[in-house]
Structure formats: C-alpha cells, structure tokens
Amino acid sequence: MKNQYHQDMLPLSNYLNTIYLFFRPLIKWFLHRFTNLCELQRLVYGAPDGYRRYKLVERSLYLSKRPQIKNLVYCLNEITSHCIPESLIDAEITTRAIDTILNVKKIKPKYHPGFSDAFGRCIDGIYTYKMLESYVEKLRLQQYSSENFEHEQKLLLLWNNLMPNIPLENRITKQWQQIGFQGDDPSTDFRGMGILALDNLLFFSSEYSGTARHILSHSQHPKYGYTLAVVGINITHMAWRLLKSGQAKSHFYNLSRTHGYLNIEHFHQFYCYLLYEFDSFWIKLKPNNLMEFNNVQERFEKSIVKSTEKENCLFKMNLSVENV
C-alpha cells in the first residue's frame, strides 16, 4: 500500500518529500488551530473540484496516522480489490468513509452541511478507480479460449461490426488478416491482454462502428497501413499500463467529477480515444512501414502522458467521421 503511494509522488524529489513529511504534523497542527478546520475539510472546501481535490484527499488519507483512518483505508482497499455491485458502493464505501471521518475528526454535519457530500464524491472517484483497476485486471487475466462460446461469439461479432458486407468463410481463415490479426486464428493474438483486448476492440467497433470502419480503411492503406487488431491489442496494453501506473488518474478523476462512479465502460471509452488518436498520429507521421510501430507508439504514449500531467486533463473523442 505504501509503495504504491510513493509511486504516485515520484515527480516530487524524494528529498523535499522527506522534509515535508517530517514537518507535516506541525504544519497541520498550525493550520488546524488557525482555521478551525481539519486537513480534509480544508481540501474539500479549498481545492478545485476534480483531479486536484481527489488527489490531495487520497494523499491525506494515506498519510494519516490515526488508527481509525488507517483501518478505514485498509478496509476500502480490501473491498475494492474485488468487484462489488454498483448498488453496494454507497453503503460499503461512501457511507463507511464519511461516517468514519465525521466521527474521528468530530465534524458536525449540522455546522458543515456541504462536507459529507463533497467528501463522498472524492471517495467515489478514488475508490471506483481502484475497483475499475481490479475489474480490468480480471478481464486481462482471462485468457481467450476457443472452447468458450461467449468468447467465440464476441470474436464473430467483431468481424461483423468491421466487415458487415463480407461474411466470414470459416472460423479458421486467412480473412482475419484483413482486420489486422496475425494469422488464420485470432485466438493466439490476445496473449497477455486476454479478454480485455477483445472487449476493447468489440466496444470500439459496436459503439463507434462508422469510425471503426473508417479506421479500418486507413489500416488497409497499401503504403501507410498497419495491422488494426494487433495495434488495437497493443493500445489495450498501453491503456492498461496508464491505468495501473496511476498516470490515467487525472483523466478518470475529472471524469468521475461529472459522471460519478467509474466503471468498465469508462475504460472502454478511454481505449477508444487512444485508438482513434493513435490512428490520426500514425497517418500524420506517415511511417515507412509497420516496423516503425514501436517508435511511433512510444512517441504517441509520451504525448498522452504529457497531457495527463495537466490537472484539468479530460480526454474526449473528437469525432468528425462517425457515420460517414
């Protein structure tokens, strides 16, 4: 738990951080005296809503030395390491956190009417992100299996979405290469990204079918083409990395501000954004051939990471071509 937190703070030099952590209790005590508000209240009232506030609240909870709050953080991490139904989030996560904090910090809702609500929304964002992480990992670890009917159906649906006018001649066929799989059976291509990669591709091709076919046509360009499905699987890898490293927090926390609970659909949307933008990036660069993929992908990832470093980061599909 601690290690994970330290990763988030890498940009701050370790030196300054140690000094800060040493003086933190003193600073907090001073501010509490003068403002009559605890740190969480100051953050919830003072920091701008969205990523900045959520991030600071998260940090404050992690650094807390109060046993009840430590225990709360531990409980919430335990709960969110599994996936619980959305209907239980309020009772299991939000209310639990609000009650504990009100109790420990002796905050009276009567005098601080806005606190519970605003603090609850921070908790929703922070912990549904963690839950999303667990769920995404679960999908990733699920290997594609040709014996699984549901997996097979999804694969065939992907074909129909991308190639609505051309029927698939056979389950094992070279036709799969037309949408960018490697051989005549896509099942070996998902590998380390498992069903997550298939779900990502399927969501993109169903939700944005026009765009997906447009991108497919780009990928089939004789000179600047690429292998769409394989590139799509590599983009899943990238989205997964960004989620896991916490770099995607700025986007997702800001999204949670307006959309509440985060769920798998938000991850799919994030993926669609990345794939769509990658396509434009590739087309603009006009690489000589697919051998330049890693180089282009690295540059693309750098530009995305740079955007996530802005506090107001929020990725939105900028569609100009849907249903051409």
Partner: protein
C-alpha cells in the same frame, strides 16, 4: 591498482559488438525469449509485436544486440531489411503448433536463400517444450530440413521460453560460435 585498471581496459577493448537477429512465425515466442535473455521479469504480459524490439545483452565479454522482429505475415517481407551484417540468426519454432510446421519450414528456407545471410550461423530454438503436445527438438530439426544444411554452422536447441530452460545453452552456443 594501476595494473588492475589496465587489465580492465584491455578486457573492455576486447568486447565485441554482435548483431543477432531473432525471427520466426507469429506466436512462436520471440519476444518472451528476448526478455528471458535480458533477464526481465513478468514475461506473461506480452502482446503481438507490431514492428520490432531490440535489446543489448552482455554475455561472456560479448555485447549482443538482439533484434526481435515481429512474426506477423504482413511484416515478414521487411525482415530482410535487418539482415545486413548479422552475426548469428536465431529462428524460433513453436514446437506445439504442428499445423503450421509447413509454414515455418517455408519461411526458414526463404531465410537460407537470402544473400545477406550467407554463411551466417543459425540456431533453431524448438520452443514451448513445456507443453505435452510439443514435438521433440530432433523432430523439428528433421522437418524443417536443418540436418541437410552443410554450408554453415547450425544448432538445434530445445527450450521453453516461459521458464527459461534451454536458453542458457543457446546463449553459450552463440558465444562459443563467435569466439572461434
């Protein structure tokens, strides 16, 4: 001290840069092998290689630059752009994929015909020996026609990229080959 640093200098100047090219069909395990050579963890998280990966590996005083070229049929035509000055070619076969052995063989024969690869030593890795359905290394050598090869040094090595068995032996052969 002076003598020691002098010796060290001599040693480092004798280090050679070698170019190793790693090819084979898609899903044969090239990237996982590359990661094992470089002693990297978590080989489970792989995706199909679009393009190529490259890593520098130090072994037996040799500096090996290993190029892992994607096995996708769409990019196989570009393999030959990377063959110039190759010191050793590694060809990876998925020993469990009997259906595609013919495709492997024909790609292998294409490589043998390439002018830039003339006389380049070849090591064939019969990968995925951890699976029960896998063919033995000797069978693989027989099928792809390795045993008939007379114009260059060659070696067949059974391996399992997932747990790393056989890869040390492969690396030793490569180094021995280069020190001759």
């Amino acid at each position: 001290m002076g003598l020691l640093s002098l010796l060290r200098k001599l040693r480092s100047s004798s280090e050679r840069d070698l170019r190793i090219v790693l090819v084979g069909l898609d899903n044969s395990g090239k990237t996982t092998i590359l990661r094992q050579f470089a002693n990297e963890e978590t080989p489970q998280v792989t995706t199909p290689t679009a393009g190529f990966n490259i890593k520098s590996i130090q072994s037996n005083n040799l500096n090996l630059n290993v190029w892992d070229l994607g096995g996708n049929s769409k990019i196989r035509p570009y393999w030959k752009n990377y063959f110039e000055n190759t010191d050793v070619l590694i060809f990876v076969v998925d020993s469990s994929d009997r259906k595609r052995m013919a495709e492997s063989t024909s790609e292998f024969n294409e490589l043998l015909k390439d002018e830039k690869l003339q006389n380049v030593p070849i090591i064939v890795l019969a990968n995925k020996q951890d699976l029960n359905s896998s063919m033995k290394a000797s069978e693989v050598a027989e099928i792809i026609g390795l045993v008939k090869l007379k114009d260059r040094e060659w070696q067949i090595q059974a391996c399992s990229a997932i747990d790393g068995t056989g890869l040390k032996e492969a690396m030793d052969w490569i180094c021995k080959c280069m020190k001759k």
